[in-house]
């Protein structure tokens, strides 16, 4: 019976591992490339709230998902709920997904309306 339990646990572990392997973590920065990436386009959708705000940005006919810092950190950077609107031109500096097929990046600095907002100030490059 103990062998049966071990088998069950091994199966559960294998199932967990098989689910875990193909997924890229979008918490933290482990899923992003090391070097900076810059995206310029038009905002098509804004989500401002928990767990973290996101922008959808259309550039060259493709829609990118841009993850921002959590609401409080974005507010501390001066990027408020009404700072950007759908239709605004935006330039995002940050790190893109290591998966080159994925149109997904995490913002460090957002420039909109001629003003730059460092949502991750400790990662943002000096001007």
């Amino acid at each position: 019976m103990i062998a049966g339990i071990s088998r069950s646990l091994a199966l559960a572990a294998m199932l967990s591992a098989s689910l875990a392997l193909p997924a890229l973590a979008h918490h933290g920065w482990g899923w992003t490339e090391d070097g900076f990436f810059e995206l310029t386009g038009t905002i098509t959708a804004i989500y401002y709230g928990n767990p973290h705000p996101t922008l959808d940005v259309e550039a060259n006919g493709e829609t990118w998902r841009v993850d921002l810092a959590p609401p409080r950190a974005s507010q501390n950077a001066g990027f408020m709920e009404d700072t950007a609107k759908v239709g605004d031109e935006v330039t995002v500096l940050g790190n893109r997904s290591r998966d080159s097929a994925e149109r997904h990046m995490k913002a460090v600095r957002i420039t909109v309306g001629g003003k730059a907002y460092d949502v991750y100030p400790n990662r943002a490059p000096a001007n």
């Binding site: 019976m1 103990i2 049966g4 339990i5 088998r7 069950s8 646990l9 199966l11 559960a12 199932l15 967990s16 689910l19 875990a20 997924a23 890229l24 973590a25 979008h26 918490h27 899923w31 989500y47 709230g49 928990n50 767990p51 609401p71 409080r72």
Partner: protein, 151 residues
């Protein structure tokens, strides 16, 4: 469907949770406590059925843990609905979220089957199979749930 999900996102308490600094992480913490208690109580019951902790009488062991699991599930459901509501449309469109819901449904059906089998005093083999399935399903639910935050 999309309209219903958008309506959920616009409810006053949902909007408050979406913008909150303290409430959202606290609801998140409640969800973690609940799923930890749920997984642990379920795993202990499954292992008992599979033959572990033989010194403890099975009936009273299961009777003690089942209310813990049900209360934990209720807390996980309530906090999960709250977490879902802030971006209902977004989560409902995620494959991993739908897989998780399907696995919870499967675990519910498995619980129903286990209950029926044990009432009919079914063979230990069938009950053990159901317990092993339960352990695998709830572990998979937990893993899928965690990946919602990473996709």
């Amino acid at each position: 469907m999309e309209e219903a999900l958008a309506t959920i996102e616009q409810l006053a308490p949902v909007r408050a949770l979406k913008a909150s600094f303290y409430a959202y992480p606290l609801v998140n913490a409640l969800h973690i406590v609940a799923i930890g208690a749920l997984w642990t109580s379920v795993a202990l019951m499954d292992l008992r059925v599979l033959g572990a902790f033989r010194s403890l009488p099975s009936a009273s062991f299961l009777a003690a843990l089942r209310p813990v699991a049900l209360a934990a599930f209720a807390a996980a459901l309530a906090s999960g609905v709250a977490l879902f509501s802030v971006r209902a449309g977004h989560y409902a469109g995620m494959g991993i979220f739908l897989v998780k819901m399907g696995l919870i449904l499967a675990a519910g059906i498995n619980l129903f089957v286990f209950d029926r089998l044990s009432r009919r005093s079914a063979s230990n083999g069938l009950l053990s199979l159901s317990a092993a399935v339960s352990l695998i399903l709830w572990t998979a639910v937990l893993v899928c749930g965690r990946f919602i935050g990473f996709l």
